[in-house]
Symmetry: C2
Subunit: 360 residues, 2 copies
């Protein structure tokens, strides 16, 4: 059974720094969004319902980034979260025996929940060294209606092998299995080439949260070449939330016009932080993968729950328990905080580990 992160402890979950707390917790950029998104605010006056599928200008801008796409291939959602929630609800049919979703583990903690909320069953395939085990995948994909891929991955920070992604694309195409490809970190890559899964049965999920630091505005989207599926999603959203906030969409549209150099300069900052945190944890004796994308490290540690609690209560350092992500022998650290804080956090972790080297 998937574990719920401790959202009751709101400040812990949101990962607010302050009061001397160093937070490696929340997965959100601390660098601000492009200034252009605020420039439309002073003169903004709209207030009426928008189109359920999302505003035309934003969908037109997005369509330019997908081959052969047009605006009717998109639905703008309340973040990637709602896109995932909607698509599993649309795909679910509890009366069918294949009402299952294959999920690589470790996973982003919301995945098992949205699958379960939709009345679908989760089938897990365990990663080997942070990468999909194609043999196990091929075995378990049989009898599944869909698979959920997240590359670059939260929490592993890994970017999946291109050959693996192409093999999955081919296999699922042959079997008629839907691929839900959560690509919210696709622009935050430091190593290797990436590959974006394509095909008639592919539903791509993305958002403005990570690339443009717009987490709080909750603008995401789904894209699919299958317009009937897109239409079904719209027909669900009209009842479950109606249009996504119209002003958030206009701000997202402004973000689409920002030059690529904005993203490049953010990636340079992330890469510097990654190097410091990755090397710092290596130096402390941690066993961890070198992050290739996103902004997380996921080092091994025994008794992760105890470690997370002791780091928080005794050293004011927030980390997330790997158990929330399906791996109880690791902790997740986000590097969405400035270099000075990363270094201070590393010092505190070093202090904590003194005499506890057996945990590593």
């Amino acid at each position: 059974m998937a574990q719920n992160p401790p959202i009751t402890s709101a400040s812990f979950f949101v990962g607010k720094s302050g009061d001397g707390i160093i937070s490696f917790g929340s997965g959100q950029p601390d660098l601000p969004p492009p200034k252009e998104i605020y420039e439309i605010l002073p003169t903004y006056k709209a207030f009426k319902y928008g189109l359920i599928q999302g505003q035309q200008n934003l969908r037109e801008a997005l369509a330019k980034h997908y081959p052969n796409a047009d605006p009717d291939n998109f639905v703008i959602t309340n973040g990637a979260s709602e896109a995932l929630d909607l698509i599993f609800r649309v795909l679910s049919n509890p009366k069918e025996p294949d009402n299952r979703v294959l999920l690589p583990r470790p996973y982003y903690y919301s995945y098992p929940f949205v699958i379960q909320f939709a009345g679908m069953e989760t089938v897990y395939t365990d990663l080997i060294d942070g990468r999909i085990d194609l043999a196990d995948f091929k075995e378990k994909i049989k009898g599944c209606r869909a698979v959920l891929i997240n590359s670059p991955s939260n929490p592993t920070g890994r970017v999946e092998d291109i050959e693996t992604l192409k093999a999955i694309e081919k296999l699922c195409g042959e079997l008629g299995v839907y691929i839900i490809s959560d690509e919210v970190y696709k622009d935050l890559i430091y190593e290797r080439e990436n590959y974006l899964i394509k095909g008639d049965h592919v539903i791509t999920v993305n958002s403005f949260s990570k690339t443009y630091a717009m987490c709080g505005f909750r603008v995401g989207y789904l894209y699919s070449p299958d317009k009937a599926l897109v239409q079904k999603t719209i027909e669900m959203k009209v009842h479950t939330s109606m249009n996504t906030n119209i002003l958030g969409q206009e701000m997202a549209y402004e973000a689409t016009k920002v030059p690529r150099s904005f993203i490049d300069s953010q990636v340079a900052v992330w890469k510097e932080r990654r190097d410091i945190l990755y090397q710092g944890l290596l130096d402390l004796g941690f066993d961890l993968w070198k992050p290739e994308g996103a902004f997380y490290v996921f080092p091994k540690i025994k008794n992760s729950n105890r470690v997370v609690n002791e780091l928080y209560y005794d050293h004011k350092v927030i980390t997330y328990d790997g158990a929330w992500f399906g791996d109880p022998d690791r902790i997740r650290l986000s590097y969405a905080l400035d270099v000075e804080k990363i270094q201070e956090g590393l010092l505190r972790i070093k202090e904590y580990l003194q005499g506890k080297e057996n945990l590593l």
Copy 2:
């Protein structure tokens, strides 16, 4: 089976006037929101995730309007739509035999869908002359887990009798049945007193869309004295959409500070329009209830589907088919348009009806 409104025809559904079209369609205010909600925009700079349950200042402001409430009794949602969707998903348990919701008919068209999406079954109780039939209600409430009340009602424009609401409150309290009270029109009342249902098993749903003309910003909320239920709702929302748009919430917070005179002046405008449309339709020979709240009339007419189509294609008048609301012998007209347009629309309907008096 509930009918889906024709959202594929986006301009029809959104009810855009223009091109000489008179739209009695969409249920959204045409009068602008209070100007204060825009005054915070020029200096707004936030961008991070907000609390899943909603911003503290907004929940504190709302708590002042509910007796013995505190901010932890509230969840801020993407409009009333998401509040309804979340609460039925939280209340649903398909393994229990009482996984049913009692719904007065005619109903707002999304209700049967969100109930069905949550895996619950809808049990209908037909209104008599636009009011709840307490005898039928008492019979059918047995074996239901929840009932959904919407007073003032979309589409009927009726405000339920206070005695009826109190009887329902008492009966459901005794039976342990949850009451979901959708009160989005509670501030738009022209006749009679209103009564807001209270009690431990009551979940109140409201939004800023109708009272403050903020439809497009999608800020709603649910309130319940049952904090465990509120917590369950938050634990679902963290996975399905995360926080509601942070800027929309700040704008809603500004709206809470606007004096009551704003609402009073809006209600005066609605009442004038109601009088003109109600009298106009009476003069044309329609059989209809006098609206007591909200901004809809729901006159009887035969062949409602044909009428809606002919009015649109031959006379450029948008109305909604009563069948979408569970009553195929009526059409719904919103009076969220200015007096001049209402009068022009009435003229066109008069023209349409010539030789078709048998439809009335």
